[in-house]
Symmetry: C2
Subunit: 467 residues, 2 copies
């Protein structure tokens, strides 16, 4: 039976009298059909999930996420489920939900389990896990993307309308691009980090995977809320998206700055999307992306890797074999780094940030390819480092520069692989990005299916049909 995979569809189904128990049952059947042991590290037992579904009682439209099942990356606490961050020796058993999960539960949502990830959220590929690698939902030959691999895949399969990831280098965007869904990386500090295993504590945020922009933004709006107990929280609100800009001024990487590592179809896909934007009134300006690339480079080559080390230093010294060998190699580099290196990196970032801010000053937002190219699982087996680094080309700089980002699917490429671009805005511009990204997905849908009816009016929501 059909499983509604957008919030609007699910809500409509509940209003029509379908029960959460029925949805939960269908969801578990769908998961069994998919038969991918790599998606969940911990799936709640069916009996408990059905009991939680029943406990919701009668449909309560006042609760914005009433009866919405969701999946949670296994570096975010859910009360009663283990949190391992993909490392058994690291496992903790939280008695309380992460701050953001608690807010979602309060709104009526039901966490169904903890998803697989690149261990300690360190990676963009999804293959750096001691568990089976989740299969990419669209093409099992290509990597699922990471680090939020399981969360992206389970949403791409239409099992749940949304799932939580985290995003430091691009872990909430790269897997969205590889699985053809939406990935929303909010402004740093908008969503509490309470109950989240840090990767780089100064650069982390919870992120959302969903089937459309509206759902991702709505979920984020429910999660967001100032948490005084989180030293990195900021008093930001996820304001309702504003009206679209009639002629958005968009900056894109200029020809010399674009990097596709030989994937010409990806270059064509990006050009086609810019053409769509232009046709819809956008002013597109190519800019030198050199400083953004320089910032991206700093995330793993610079002292910030010491932030990752700070999370696992004790474990790494006492029980190194408990850590995935690639993760150990990547994070182990922090051992040789001095406080001098750290501050020199901080200074260099401040200077590059100033430069990037100036480059962005005349524009409403940036649009970049979400990923420069695709990589297969075989590519990663042959070289676990280089493809991972390349995948972060258009994502790694975003949190270092305190920007927000929204990854959206666009028309599939000629070879059928998912097209994707990412909109990037200034801190706090989450609502603006949602409006613009939503308009882009409508425009792209219009091109991909020219027989479709006219563009919906502004007060309608564009609903992807799936499932």
């Amino acid at each position: 039976e059909d499983l509604p995979c957008t919030l609007a569809d699910l809500r409509a189904a509940y209003a029509d009298g379908i029960t959460p128990r029925a949805v939960m049952t269908a969801l578990l059947a769908r998961l069994a059909d998919i038969d991918d042991p790599g998606i969940f590290i911990h799936l709640e037992v069916a009996q408990t999930l059905l009991a939680q579904a029943d406990a919701l009682g009668a449909f309560d439209p006042a609760r914005p996420l009433w009866g919405v099942p969701f999946a949670v990356k296994d570096n975010i606490d859910v009360a009663g489920m283990p949190t391992s961050a993909g490392c058994e020796a690291f496992t903790r058993y939280p008695q309380t939900d992460a701050f953001a999960v608690a807010r979602l539960r309060e709104a009526g949502a039901i966490p169904i389990g903890k998803t697989n990830l690149d261990q300690f959220a360190t990676g963009l590929v999804g293959t750096r896990t001691p568990h089976p690698v989740p299969r990419n939902a669209l093409d099992p030959a290509i990597v699922p993307g990471g680090s939020s691999s399981g969360s992206a895949v389970v949403v791409a399969h239409g099992v749940v309308p949304f799932a939580l990831g985290t995003d430091t280098a691009g872990s909430g965007r790269v897997p969205a691009a590889l699985n053809g869904i939406v990935g929303l990386k909010p402004t740093l500090g908008a969503v509490s980090a309470g109950g989240v295993v840090p990767a780089c504590r100064t650069l982390d945020t919870i992120s959302v995977f969903a089937r459309n922009v509206e759902d991702a933004h709505a979920v984020c709006a429910v999660m967001a809320g100032y948490d005084a107990a989180d030293a990195y929280a900021r008093p930001l609100r996820m304001a309702p998206p504003p009206a679209p800009l009639p002629a958005p001024r968009i900056a894109v990487p200029d020809h010399a700055s674009l990097r596709f590592f030989g994937d010409s179809l990806q270059a064509e896909s990006f050009s086609a999307t810019l053409e769509t934007l232009r046709r819809r009134g956008a002013e597109i300006t190519p800019i030198d992306f050199g400083p953004f690339h320089d910032v991206a480079q700093m995330l793993y080559d610079g002292a910030w890797v010491a932030e990752r080390y700070s999370v696992i230093a004790e474990l790494m010294e006492s029980e190194p074999e408990a850590i995935h060998p690639v993760t150990r190699e990547v994070i182990g580099k922090a051992r040789g780094m001095s406080a001098l290196d750290a501050f020199r990196g901080i200074y260099r970032l401040a200077e590059l940030r100033r430069h990037c801010v100036q480059l962005m000053a005349d524009f409403d937002y940036l649009v970049v390819p979400s990923i420069p190219r695709f990589y297969s699982c075989a590519d990663l087996a042959a070289d676990p480092i280089t493809p991972n680094s390349n995948l972060g080309t258009y994502t790694n700089f975003v949190n270092l520069l305190d920007l927000c980002a929204l990854t959206v699917p666009v028309a599939p490429r000629e070879d059928g692989r998912p097209g994707s671009v990412t909109l990037i805005g200034r801190a706090g511009a989450d609502g603006r990005l949602a409006t613009e990204a939503s308009r882009l997905t409508r425009a792209v849908a219009g091109i991909a299916a020219p027989a479709m009816p006219a563009e919906p009016a502004d007060d309608e929501m564009a609903i992807a049909v799936c499932g």
Copy 2:
């Protein structure tokens, strides 16, 4: 002959027909009388100064600092004068003024020389210099304070109406307190750091010494201005001071948090100042200062000392004997610090900052003793570290917490030593502090000299009579 030592007096003198040449001549005579070889590391030759005075031409009241001589701490560039930061081997010969100095010069001010300092602005005592130690302007037995020792002393002597210092740990406040003058430490980033030798680049600011609050604020307003070339500049304006608060809500360290290291007169002086504030309508609330003390502790014990090391690492490794032995010992600690230490310190600071922000939330500003006690030059000769640390008790946390501060003289203590308190406000509250500090100095003056006429109306400026 009399040398006007406030901007208003000097301006009035110029309006009356006195020439900059006459002022410059009197100033040089005064300096000769003081006969302290420790104040200046480099004093411009008289001929040049007189020529610059003459070059100003006719009095131009449109230039806010027309004909105002000032001194510059020797870690700030003045074109044509060497910058040594108190270390001969480090000396550079800048061809251009520091950004802030250029703005002052544009307003008509004339830099007369470069003042002595604790080498590399590392210290709060003024004794950590290879040059003669500047004599405290009020009592040669006590230390002049640092690191901006020469700048504070020269203003306290009435030689110039203002001088520039820098402030990282308290270098713009401690020497103001020890010499009985005003020390203004603006919000970080309000004044460009362009052309300044860094101490801790993330925590440094230029500061101003003056005889009254109005002068300090006016000078700061001229210097402030966004410098896009300084990665740590912020687009703040030194707004004109607002109207005074009728009943300011002031937080002060509670009894258990106050530290005077045995100096009971300092405790009495602080109590008397609070009593004055209370009588003028302030609501004084003692708060737990523990988290502020914890932050203060981090500045030299934590990884931030690696910022100082980053400035002199090459020199320290190649030519260690070129560096003052105490400075070398203090900064050398950075060699053993890792990037892990740096990020753990950054996290701890973020948590303490959150705590401190919450403690300050219900108050307009803080008032603290500027220094906990006095130390003699003999004390420093016996132990060059502990007295220095203690002097930072009420200053070290301010830049780490991104606050602004204004140090003002209050009634002298029973033993004749200068009384001083410091007002501390949130980032950007520089104007608010100026208003409140100005009112406090008027109130204190009223108490110290009960025969004085009634408090001036709000639109009058309180002018200290001196020199």
